[in-house]
């Protein structure tokens, strides 16, 4: 039995190593001197680690600006998404109003429609509103998050009705019930939703590529993608750019993975 235990664990360790090897190599190459990565056989470690690539990125390439754009857009997207979806998810689960169930069924059906279907008209719509090439334009899709409403609603269904009734009898308004009773109960799913929106908006590529063209507004993924199509040979710089782009979300995930993984399961399995 012990042999079996070790062989399974060894296999898992091997699979895990293969899985994260690309990320480890990305970090390793980002510390190599210019031209060092273009060798055969490919070097695994930098001969003499250097921060030169990062200095170039933040100095010559002005990556700090893109980093700031990404942080601002993802933070605002997260805040706005929570503001819009939490009350809606709660209302669909617990407040009885006419047409509620019919509307909710339509929302669930709409989950099948990929956002890209409406991308061209949405671009024209935002152009008419004067929001092309602005943070606001990049944020708009995050206001219309059906998945978030769905996630919050599933979680709210477990709140006992008696609890809300008791608060109503005590004279609490519906807004007070949401703030004082429901929000504390929802904390775990709010954390999950916040991480989900932050990661998704940080990693998003196609919409920011379309809506942001001004060099001062673009996010890290857009800047990296556009540059990677031009500077194909500069592996070390590109790897440093990849590190700057993906490390913040990777660290965020590692720090909060317990809330994130359990919360995602609530959404996918109970649903």
């Amino acid at each position: 039995m012990s042999l079996r235990r070790w062989s399974v664990t060894l296999l898992a360790a091997l699979v895990a190593l293969v899985t994260i090897a690309p990320l480890l190599w990305m970090v390793s190459v980002s510390f190599m001197a210019r031209g060092e990565a273009a060798q055969f056989p490919p070097p695994l470690w930098p001969a003499s680690p250097t921060l030169e690539n990062y200095r170039l990125l933040f100095g010559t390439f002005g990556v700090g600006r893109f980093l700031l754009n990404s942080v601002l857009i993802s933070t605002l997207a997260t805040g706005l998404a929570l503001l819009f979806t939490i009350p809606a998810g709660y209302a669909f689960a617990k407040l009885r109003f006419k047409g509620r169930d019919a509307i909710f069924r339509m929302l669930v059906a709409a989950l099948v429609v990929p956002g890209q279907v409406g991308m061209l008209p949405l671009f024209l719509e935002l152009k008419a509103m004067g929001l092309v090439n602005s943070y606001a334009g990049a944020l708009v899709p995050w206001l219309a998050g059906i998945f978030g409403i769905f996630l919050v609603r599933q979680y709210c269904l477990s709140i006992p009705d008696e609890m809300l009734e008791a608060a109503r009898i005590d004279g609490a308004s519906e807004g007070q019930i949401l703030r004082r009773i429901v929000l504390p109960i929802l904390t775990p799913i709010i954390v999950t939703l916040a991480i989900y929106v932050f990661l998704s908006s940080w990693n998003d590529f196609m919409w920011p590529l379309i809506i942001l063209s001004d060099q001062d507004l673009v996010t890290l993924p857009v800047a990296l993608a556009v540059n990677s199509r031009q500077n194909v040979q500069d592996y070390e710089i590109m790897m440093a750019g990849a590190v700057v782009t993906t490390l913040p979300v990777l660290i965020l995930f590692l720090a909060l993975q317990r809330y994130y993984l359990s919360g995602l399961l609530t959404g996918s399995v109970k649903g």
């Binding site: 899985t19 009350p87 407040l95 429609v113 990929p114 061209l120 409403i149 993608a225 750019g241 990849a242």
Partner: protein, 298 residues
């Protein structure tokens, strides 16, 4: 409850849900419907400058697409991605989930997090990393293959290798998410069932086929529906790794739509592509649901 209480509850319900519903109407439903109308017009760079240049052209956009070989190339490429990628990714995810679910595994949370990590990374960043990993001369993958006597493969430069190369990357990037969904389903399969089959002398594969798979069939369906939808939406992968090449072997529907719409500013024709993409996803999802109903999975 009093009538007044009921009315105030309904009012609150509307007040709390209407901001989100208004945003969904304005930025999701309306553009999706407008896409269909846009596809019946010749909206192009001239209409963008002056809306007076816009003309209704009926089905002309669709007729022109059907005659465009690049459109058909994008269609077949995408269907190849769906047909080859879905079973590959579902199998990979299920394998990872069964490994992490194994009762003999030590330090389970560590492996779960490590295998999930690629899913949260930024697609563009890891696509840049994988373009380098897949490099013909300096890439780690060809170097590792050389130990098994495999000659260097021009992963992203050979039209026959480019699609598998992107699939390997997409599989690496997404299997962790599906693994988590499978893990939750596997935990509901009673250990005793598997144990009893094992004592009866059933081998690993027999138990997988007759015990585990039937028990998690609805989850297999869910993961395949999600994976199919994901395969239809490949865009950043070809944009960063191959720019649709070589020989247009990795132009996907969305990549084609992007170039139609935002490179050539043929928004009418791009909207027609978007609408056809929607019909494809809808058709494949309905077929999957019907197959699942017939086989009794749901």
């Amino acid at each position: 409850m009093s009538a007044a209480g009921r009315a105030s509850e309904a009012r609150a319900g509307w007040a709390m849900s209407s901001p989100a519903l208004a945003a969904i109407m304005l930025f999701f439903v309306l553009p999706a419907i407008a896409s269909l109308f846009l596809s019946f017009t010749d909206f192009d760079i001239y209409a963008l400058a002056d809306i007076g240049n816009l003309r209704f052209v009926g089905l002309a956009n669709y007729a022109r697409l059907i005659e465009n070989p690049l459109f058909w190339k994008a269609m077949t490429n995408t269907l190849l991605f769906v047909a080859a990628g879905t079973p590959f990714i579902v199998a990979l995810s299920l394998f990872a989930a069964m490994l992490v679910n194994s009762r003999w595994l030590k330090w389970r949370p560590v492996w779960r997090v490590a295998l999930f990590a690629p899913y949260v990374t930024t697609l563009v960043a890891t696509a840049v990393v994988w373009r380098y990993l897949l490099h013909t001369r300096y890439g780690l993958i060809n170097y590792l293959l050389s130990f098994f006597g495999v000659p260097p493969i021009d992963w992203l430069g050979d039209p026959h290798a480019s699609l598998p190369a992107i699939l390997i990357f997409v599989g690496w990037k997404t299997f962790g998410y599906n693994m988590i969904i499978f893990l939750a389903a596997l935990q509901t399969v009673p250990r005793e069932l598997d144990e009893a089959a094992r004592i009866d002398g059933a081998g690993w594969f027999t138990r997988l086929r007759h015990v585990t798979l039937p028990a998690i069939a609805p989850t297999v369906l869910l993961v395949s529906v999600l994976t199919v939808a994901g395969m239809f939406q490949l865009f950043a992968e070809p944009y960063v790794m191959t720019q649709g090449g070589p020989a247009q072997s990795t132009v996907t529907i969305l990549y084609f739509m992007y170039e139609e719409g935002f490179k050539w500013w043929n928004l009418g024709s791009g909207a027609a592509v978007a609408f056809l993409l929607f019909l494809c996803i809808l058709a494949v999802t309905l077929v999957q649901l019907r197959l699942a109903k017939r086989s009794g999975a749901i």
